[in-house]
Amino acid sequence: MNLLDGLWGVLDLLLVAVLLLLAMAAVLSSDRRRSMMLFIVFGLVLALVWARLHAPDIALAEAAIGAGLGGALLMATLRRDTHQQTDQFPQHPVVLWGVGVLVMVLGTAIAWGLFSVLPTVEQTWRKGAAVDAQLAFSGVSHPVTAVLLNFRAWDTLLELAVLLAAIFGIRALGYVRSAYVTEVAFSQLAVWLVPLLILMAGYVLWAGAHSPGGAFQAGALLAGAGILLRLAGYSHAGLPTTRWLVRLGLVAGTGVFLLVGLGLLGWGQGFLHYPIAYAKWWILLIEMLATVSIGMTLTLAFMGGIPQKEAA
């Protein structure tokens, strides 16, 4: 082991220690604002950890969705919360301790479960070999995208469906109530940052075919643009003002994914088994629509309801 490896080892240990400390501090803090800030920092450090684990895709997603959008959502929630800032735990100490012990037992059980799987995984420790062998038939050249959109397309379809279900719930909350007081600095920022964000979303989406990136990361960038527009005083946050267009956009990702799957089933290919020659185009179509849906969903989630003047 040379000096550089040792240095990386120390750095990794530091990262893990900071991650654990941040997680504990975020959970244990009684000040909501503080725990929220700590959670955002936790997300950023977690992104660094993913990057160190050579998983840039997850690092990107964690930084953009976990820390960025998650933080924005928490902040929006905190803003609407008119109660006092500090949490007084109303629960009985017995309940608190009971929950603590239960969580620890569950955590141990999960750790034990993972640990017992480890030896069997060891023979095929890196599933990457299997993925690489099939990569040529997937329609894309980036293994992560191949897994997400082709080999394990089911999982991604369900993830999109979860987002769709979440936005149904959020829209059921009714109209967006409060508007933001706009700072001039924000509108100036929005003027040139929003086009750049849209461009970057397109790039990240396209790059997903051969390098880290993809629909979720691109969608998060679009949502970032939406949130910026909202903060800059645009009541619709750049979303369409006609109701059916919004609905169409929200459903597009899951809907087309499902339709393509069913269509291929009817064609005799099997559910979401793309014909090899056209796999790339099916994946691109689904990813593009998924990006739009994810971006719109996350923007609406930040707004916390249906925009006020959404025409019928």
Binding site: E183, A185, F186, L189, L193, L196
Partner: protein, 99 residues
């Protein structure tokens, strides 16, 4: 070899600014001074780190991306600092009037 030395020099210089910014954030008495320390040192530190890394890029596209990262960080930190400062300023003024 000269490029590598230049990179190391610029990275160390950038590191120095990051550390100073950190010290300022840690030790300065009020939020305005802390904001000042954070943004100034951060922007310069990141700029120097990015310039140092520019000597290591394989092609122009990488360089453009590095510069873009720096510019975005610049704008973001400037706007952030401005918003925090304005919020704080208003809060203090309101406090003074009521007192």
């Amino acid at each position: 070899m000269i490029l590598d030395a230049l990179s190391v020099l610029l990275l160390l210089l950038g590191l120095f600014f990051f550390v100073s910014g950190l010290l300022g954030l840690w030790r300065f008495p009020d939020t305005f001074a802390r904001l000042h320390a954070l943004t100034k040192a951060d922007n310069l530190g990141l700029g120097l780190v990015m310039t140092g890394l520019l000597f290591q890029v394989p092609d122009v596209l990488w360089a453009i991306k590095f510069i873009l990262v720096w510019l975005l960080a610049l704008v973001a930190s400037a706007v952030n600092a401005h918003l925090i400062a304005v919020f704080l300023h208003r809060q203090q003024e309101g406090h003074d009037e009521s007192a």
